[in-house]
């Protein structure tokens, strides 16, 4: 069973690697954005799925990475690849600065503080217009690199999913989940909860930063409202939830299902697709909070490493 799964996975990865040869421009853009969502949902999973601390402003790392990359490319002439990695570093640094104090807050307060963080980043970016272009946005020099970005984003998605797998199958992961289940007990057992939470938080902020940078390069133009929207945070959360947070493949499943569904089905309903999205959120929260894999895990006693 396990071998068949790994073989199928291998075939899938090869297919994805070969896809750009026959794909249309739209196909590449579509898949690249799909990879982005997988990466985002999975990153959110690393902190919120595993520790239970709801990062309600996770797109802040995405936006920060986008701007860090944009500034490096435009003002300092960096190539987008190292610039995107620096975007990830920028995200991680932000997580370090803000995580250290914020992770001490309890549930709802942490969520609200993350929301506040996102807004703070957005207005800070608007304020320092000499650096970021402010409300006018930042334009990168024209470059048609969609195929390379496709591979880079795909790599990011694979990397973060692999990270999720490694964490969940490790003691580190177990400790994180203990924190999720009962933080007081975890402390009592001698787990340095502050440190572990911070590690998870740093890891969860790196990939969104990278992916933000890659998106900045791909779009060629970013502005504060486009890279710090609450809707993006919500979407990545719903994707992770739908597939099953706290699992390895849940966020992947959720991202693929919802993104494909959105593009194929409800983009047709010009005016009502947001209502449908709202309805889906309600359904997921009320009827399937554990997500598909969560439900399957329980029903069929599937291993934790799903």
């Amino acid at each position: 069973m396990k071998r068949a799964f790994i073989a199928a996975l291998g075939v899938l990865l090869v297919a994805l690697a070969l896809y750009p040869i026959t794909a249309t421009g739209y196909g590449i853009r579509f898949m690249l954005q799909l990879f982005m969502w997988v990466a985002l949902a999975q990153s959110w999973n690393l902190i919120s799925g595993l520790t239970g601390y709801v990062s309600f402003g996770h797109v802040a790392f995405f936006g920060t990475g986008a701007y860090a990359t944009g500034i490096l490319v435009v003002t300092h002439g960096w190539h987008w690849m190292p610039a995107s990695l620096m975007g990830g570093v920028a995200g991680a640094i932000l997580a370090l600065i803000i995580g250290y104090p914020c992770l001490r807050l309890k549930g709802p307060y942490f969520a609200i503080s993350m929301l506040g963080l996102n807004e703070v980043m957005r207005v800070l970016v608007s304020y320092f217009e000499g650096l970021t272009g402010g409300g006018s946005g930042l334009s990168l020099p024209a470059l048609h690199a969609s195929v390379q970005i496709y591979y880079a984003t795909g790599l990011a998605a694979v990397a973060v999913t692999a990270t999720a797998f490694l964490i969940i199958t490790s003691r580190f992961g177990l400790r994180l989940m203990t924190i999720r289940e009962d933080e007081v007990a975890a402390e009592a057992m001698g787990i340095d909860t502050a440190r572990y939470k911070l590690y998870a938080f740093l890891l969860s902020a790196f990939v969104p930063g990278v992916v933000g940078g890659l998106q900045a390069r791909d779009q060629g133009y970013i502005e504060p409202m486009a890279v710090f929207p609450l809707l993006t945070t919500i979407t990545m959360i719903v994707m992770a939830l739908f597939g099953g947070k706290g699992t390895v493949w849940g966020p992947v499943l959720g991202a693929v299902t919802l993104f494909v569904f959105q593009e194929l089905v409800w983009a047709r309903f010009l005016y009502l697709h947001q209502v449908l999205f709202g309805a889906i959120i309600i359904v997921v929260v009320l009827l399937m909070p554990r997500g598909i894999l969560g439900i399957l895990q329980q029903r069929y006693q599937l291993p934790r490493t799903i």
Partner: protein, 292 residues
């Protein structure tokens, strides 16, 4: 390219800040009620405010009568909507981890906003009723804001009286403090949740009706009020009802003063930085609140 700031100017914006602050306080009180009683973070709060504003708009558009009278319609109407939402969906995420209530109310919000957009179109509306101001020396007191200030203060005081003096109000406060003890004392907690959500929605609707005369009405107008209500709750302390009052006034003042002494662009940032600072340094709120 700056201007010299005179005391009269400071006085002017302080007044503007207080007038706006009273409104924030009233709306935030609603949010505080929901969080205090049910531990639910209601992201749809601003959306209810928006619906209240639209109610006033249509009232004025179709009937042409004094829009302030529409409070008599918007408040009960949204009370019912709030009660309905609580009964049908929100009651299931009471006591659930905050993620559930955040997402659920967000889903409700997005659905309502888009239905409104579909039904009423995105065209910007407004209620043109009372413009101009009373000029008192160098200070200008906007008529419409004064009236909404008066109503906001009145409604908030009424809400407080209600919470302090009536049986239902006391039951709500009791449930806020400790649900178990309240149940032991014979309080029907389910019913309390219903009333609290309804009351909170009525307060939000009142906020909407009052701003309908002041700002532009459009389906997405609610989000900023939701955020501001969050800010007020954090400043005042979650579940701390008097704290919400003071927090609202404080927010109004901070916004206006930073807009005056710095720039309007920055005043937005100041409010959020304040949020994060308060959360980090005094999570129970500046005016002391529940410590959970």
């Amino acid at each position: 390219m700056g201007v010299i700031i005179t005391p009269a100017m400071v006085g002017q914006v302080v007044i503007s800040g207080l007038l706006a602050g009273a409104l924030y306080s009233m709306v935030a009180l609603g949010l505080a009620l929901i969080f205090g009683v049910m531990r639910v973070i209601n992201v749809a709060h601003g959306t209810i405010l928006m619906l209240g504003a639209y109610t006033t708009f249509w009232w004025f558009q179709l009937l042409g009568i004094n829009p302030y009278l529409s409070l008599l319609v918007s408040m009960p109407l949204m009370f019912l909507l709030g009660a309905f939402l609580q009964r049908s969906m929100v009651h299931r995420v009471v006591d659930a981890p905050e993620l559930s209530s955040l997402l659920l109310t967000f889903g409700i919000s997005i659905a309502l906003v888009n239905v409104t957009q579909y039904a009423f179109s995105s065209d910007v509306r407004s209620v043109e009723f009372l413009t101009g101001s009373f000029l008192v020396g160098p200070l200008a007191l906007s008529k419409s804001r004064l009236i909404s200030f008066a109503f906001a203060v009145g409604l908030t005081l009424f809400a407080f009286w209600f919470l302090q003096k009536t049986k239902l109000g006391k039951a709500i406060r009791a449930t806020s403090q400790s649900r178990e003890v309240a149940m032991v004392c014979g309080v029907n907690v389910q019913r309390i949740h219903l009333y609290a959500f309804g009351m909170a929605s009525a307060l939000a609707a009142a906020g909407g009706s009052l701003v309908a005369v002041i700002v532009a009405i459009q389906p997405e107008m609610g989000q900023v009020y939701t955020f501001k209500s969050f800010l007020v709750i954090v400043l005042g302390g979650a579940g701390n009802y008097p704290g919400a009052l003071l927090g609202g006034m404080l927010l109004g003042l901070v916004e206006q003063l930073s807009s005056l002494f710095l720039t309007t662009q920055v005043s937005e940032a100041v409010a959020y930085v304040l949020l994060v600072l308060v959360l980090l340094l005094r999570p129970t709120g500046l005016f002391g609140g529940r410590s959970t």
